[in-house]
Each structure stands twice: as C-alpha cells, then as structure tokens.
Assembly symmetry: C3
Homo-oligomer: 141 residues x 3
C-alpha cells in the first residue's frame, strides 16, 4: 500500500494494493499508522464484495457475497480497539454499471481494485470493543 501521512502523524491518505483484501488492508494501515481510535472512509472500486447484515433479533450476521465489479458509492467507518489491536468497523454502499446499489457491513473477502482511503486518529481515551449481551455485538463500553 501507499501511505501519505500528515506531518503531525494524526491523519493519512492511503491507496490499497489491487487484489488485496480491503478490510484486512485497512486494519493493517491503521496498525501501521498507530491509530487506535479515529475515523476512516474510502472510495474506489472492488472486483468482488462481501457484505454482512446483522439480524438484530437473532444477534448474528448473515453474509452476502457479490462476485461482481462494483464501484464504492461510499465506505464509512471507524477505528477502535478490539482484542488488543486496532479494529476497523466499516459499512459500504456499492454501485453497478446501471447505477443500482447494494450496501451493508464490510466483510473479509472483499477484493480491492482501487481503494483510496482517508484516516484521522483521535487522541484521548480510546474506545474498546467488548461483547454486549443485549445487542449481541462487541461495542464501545
């Protein structure tokens, strides 16, 4: 990946490698940048997309593979700590050639074509994800 950090080290523009796993690469970028807490967003395109949808009543994710070339209409997320490492939580909307869209929770298995991301870190108390029984998700406690 190509990283363009800001002078104060608190933000960066990042281009992911073609063919890399989008979520894995974003997690790697956050670790390289030393960002434990912050915001992350991206645009670009993928050659394959895997979305998740959380069933609020059943408290589990279902997975939707989209083995298609798609533009990212938006990719929005945050960085916080989970299991001792920086963890990217990201949702995306993706677009087909006719403009139609699909969206959801970004899962592993999504392949970058061209991804241009922006990170900005926050100083201060770091949010840590821990399992919440009521929600069925690991959330900031």
């Amino acid at each position: 990946m190509k990283i363009y950090p800001s002078e104060d080290g608190m933000a960066a523009l990042v281009r992911l490698e073609r063919g890399s796993d989008m979520l894995g690469s974003l997690n790697e970028a956050a670790a390289k940048l030393g960002i434990d807490a912050g915001t992350v967003q991206a645009i670009g395109a993928v050659s394959e997309l895997v979305l998740g949808y959380f069933l609020q009543d059943e408290k589990r994710y279902v997975t939707m593979p989209f083995p298609e070339h798609l533009a990212l209409g938006s990719a929005l997320g945050n960085v916080s700590m989970k299991d001792g490492a920086p963890f990217v939580h990201m949702h995306v909307t993706a677009c087909r050639q006719d403009g139609s869209t699909v969206g959801g929770h970004l899962m592993e298995g999504t392949k970058a074509f061209l991804i241009e991301a922006y990170f900005r870190g926050l100083t201060g108390r770091v949010p840590v994800r821990e399992q919440d029984e009521d929600l069925g998700l690991a959330v900031w406690q």
Copy 2:
C-alpha cells in the same frame, strides 16, 4: 450515550443508546461537545427509519417511514447553528438483509439500534441557517 472526546476537545467518537431517537441524540451530542460548526458521520443500524425527501419545486419535505430493521450504509452530515442552537443536518443510506438500499434526509422518529458517530468541530466563523426564499430551505447565509 457514551462520549470519547479528543484531548483538544475538537472531536469525538460517540455511541448512541439503543432505542434513542437518532437525530435527537446527535443534536444532543453536538450540544454536549460544544460543537457549533463541524462535520458528523455515523455507521451502525436502526430498528426503524424515517426519511425525508425535499420537493424542489414545491419547497416542502415529504416523509417516508421505514418500520424495518436496517443497517446504515452511510450517515453523513454537518453541524451548524439554527435558531440559536447546534443543528445536525444528516443524510443516510440504509440497507436491508438482501443488500437493497433506501436513502434520504434523516428525520426524527429514527430509532437507534447501534449508532457509532464521529464529530469534528471547526473553529472560525460559524455558519448560521436562515430561511432562503429561493430554495425554500434554511441554509448558510
């Protein structure tokens, strides 16, 4: 809500309470953080969504209720002053279990399931919303 402010007090990560009104809680967070002008964005999920669509010719909003569990593909907005208080203007796209999406202007009545938001304030001259006769909307003057 849980607030994780940055050390300089100019930014924060915020988790909204399950069941709270999403727009109302974001307005409350902006006020608590003392942000009069800035950017705000969020991801997460809602148990019920209310969108607005502005009819440009008729100069009025129509309201669309979506009484469904939906993931937020994106929630993007800003904070500025309106009627003497910080005011969040936010647009969202939301996603169903099959990946299909709906989107528009976030209205009151949207119920948070899990909302993770990011705020960043701006110092400098604060934009103030005032009614614009040409547009039919309260915009920065």
Copy 3:
C-alpha cells in the same frame, strides 16, 4: 459559493451556488482553500446528476445521466494533485422521492440545488495522480 474556513485554514464548510456544476465548484473550492491533499464530503440535493462507472476490464468510464431531482445520500471523496492542480475525486449515492437510490463516480454535468460540503486538508507529502497502465486510471504513485 459561501466559504466558512477554520481559523487554522486547514478545513472549511462550503455551500455551493444553486445551478453551479457540482464537481467544477468543488474543484474551485479546493483551489481557493489552497488544499492540495485532503478529504472532502457533502450532502444536499442536485437538480440533475451525471454518474460514471469504470469498466475494470475495458479500462474506460461509461456515463449515466440522471436528469432528475435527487437528494444526495452521500458524497465522499478526496483532494490530490493532478496535472498541477488540486483535483477532487468523488463518489455519490443519490435518492429519489420513494427512497430508491443510484450511485457511482461523480461526473461533470451534475447541477447543484443545495450542496453543503466539508473539506479538510492534510499537510505532508502530497499524493500526485499519474496514469497507471495496469489499472487504466490516474492514481497516487
């Protein structure tokens, strides 16, 4: 356009003029703000939208005009240098009165109704776009 810069000159809220070309006006705003590298995002509405979709195999964009009034569900992008000038790369999702959405790469020809944008510049090494033969796109080298 109306520009509300931050005191440090590194960020701004910007309202575009009704009827202006959205992409052209964002490029103009980046130049006026002196932002060579950074992030940009917007919400609002357009009276006409032109999207592009990049054919990854054929290495070319196809254009989709949407001559409709649409809300912007999201508009997300970045600023970097191309051909010696600040260049905005932006993707959007847009929403109809029934909540249905379309999305893709923002092209010239998109007419602003009300656009509220946020820019934040990055100091440090500036990413420069140059043509990449493998991708068929001008990307950060």
